[in-house]
C-alpha cells in the first residue's frame, strides 16, 4: 500500500499488516531485536526523479504486499539547498555544508530489508532497471542523526531558533537512541518518521 500524506517529507510503501500493529522490521517472519537491527537492517538506495520513483514504487508495491520487501520510503522532493544563514550555523559546528548541499539533487528511495535477504531484494530492483548498487546499514543513518551528525545538525540549523532549543534537540536525540538500544535483546521498536 502506497501511503502518501502531503504533509509528510516521505512517501511510504507498507504492507497493510503494519496498520494492524505488526512490525515490518523482521527477518524470516520474526521481529528483530535491537542488536539484530543494528547488525543487519538497512536499505538499498535508489536515486531518481520523483516521477521515476513514483513509477518504481507502484511496481514494488506488489512485492511489499506479498511480504517479500518489508518497506519502502522515498522523498517527496529533492533536498532543499541550504541558505547562507543555515550554512553559517553548520560551520560554527565545524560542519562544511558547501561540499554536500549541492550534490544531492534527486529524490532518494530507501528499499528496506535485512541484509541477509538483501541480494534477493536486489534481484527485484535490478530486474526493474535499478543500476546504482548501494547498501546503507541503518546504523550508519543513526550516526548521522546523533549530535554532530550531518543530518541532525542540518535539521537543527534549519528548524531551531536558538542555542537552547538546539541543545534540547541534541539531548533528545541522544536520549532517544540510548533508550532504544539500552537492551540489545529487546525487540526493536523504532521511532515515528514524518
Amino acid at each position: 500500500m502506497i501511503v502518501d500524506h502531503p504533509g509528510s517529507h516521505f512517501i511510504f510503501v507498507y504492507n497493510t499488516y503494519v496498520f494492524y500493529g505488526r512490525s515490518y522490521i523482521t527477518y524470516q517472519g520474526r521481529p528483530l531485536t535491537n542488536k539484530e537491527y543494528l547488525d543487519h537492517w538497512g536499505k538499498w538506495i535508489v536515486l531518481g526523479s520523483r516521477k521515476r520513483l513514483d513509477d518504481l514504487a507502484a511496481k514494488l508495491d506488489l512485492y511489499v504486499e506479498q511480504g517479500v520487501i518489508p518497506c519502502i520510503k522515498y522523498d517527496r522532493e529533492p533536498p532543499k539547498k541550504l541558505d547562507l544563514a543555515v550554512k553559517q550555523k553548520l560551520r560554527r559546528r565545524f560542519i562544511d555544508a558547501d561540499q554536500d548541499e549541492a550534490v544531492l539533487m534527486e529524490c532518494v528511495m530507501c528499499v528496506f530489508c535485512d541484509e541477509r535477504q538483501r541480494e534477493e531484494v536486489w534481484q527485484i530492483l535490478t530486474g526493474l532497471g535499478v543500476g546504482l548498487k548501494a547498501w546503507v546499514y541503518d546504523k550508519e543513518t543513526i550516526d548521522l542523526w546523533l549530535p554532530g551528525g550531518i543530518l541532525l545538525e542540518r535539521w537543527i540549523a534549519q528548524n531551531c531558533s536558538g542555542q537552547d532549543e538546539a541543545e534540547k534537540v541534541r539531548q533528545e536525540s541522544q536520549e532517544r537512541f540510548r533508550e532504544i538500544f539500552k537492551n540489545e535483546d529487546a525487540i526493536y521498536k523504532g521511532w515515528p518518521q514524518q
Binding site: 536499505k43 538499498w44 538506495i45 536515486l47 533536498p79 562544511d96 561540499q99 554536500d100 550534490v103 544531492l104 532518494v108 530507501c110 536486489w122 543500476g131 546504482l132 548498487k133 548501494a134 547498501w135 546503507v136 550508519e140 543513518t141 548521522l144 542523526w145 550531518i150 543530518l151 542540518r154
Partner: protein
C-alpha cells in the same frame, strides 16, 4: 558511468581526478583518506567495511559514489 582499469579504489579515484580535476578534493582529505561527504560502494558494499580506498578491484567490479546523506 565510466570505465577504468584501476587496481584499487584509490587508483579509481586518481583516474577520476585525471578526467575531472578537483574531484579528488571533494572525496578525500589532504591525507588521502575519505571524507564523510560521499560514500564509495564496491558492488553495493560500502568500502569502509572492506579495505577503504585500498580495496582491490577486479574486472567487472562496479564502483559507485553516493552522497553520504542519501538514505537518511
Amino acid at each position: 558511468m565510466l570505465e577504468d582499469s584501476a587496481a584499487d579504489v584509490a587508483g579509481c579515484i586518481d583516474g577520476l581526478e585525471a578526467r575531472f580535476p578537483g574531484i579528488k578534493g571533494g572525496l578525500c582529505n589532504e591525507e588521502g583518506k575519505l571524507k564523510g561527504v560521499f560514500n564509495i560502494y564496491l558492488n553495493g558494499e560500502n568500502v569502509k567495511y572492506l579495505q577503504g580506498i585500498a580495496t582491490p578491484l577486479k574486472d567487472g567490479d562496479e564502483v559507485s559514489i553516493v552522497p553520504a546523506i542519501a538514505g537518511g
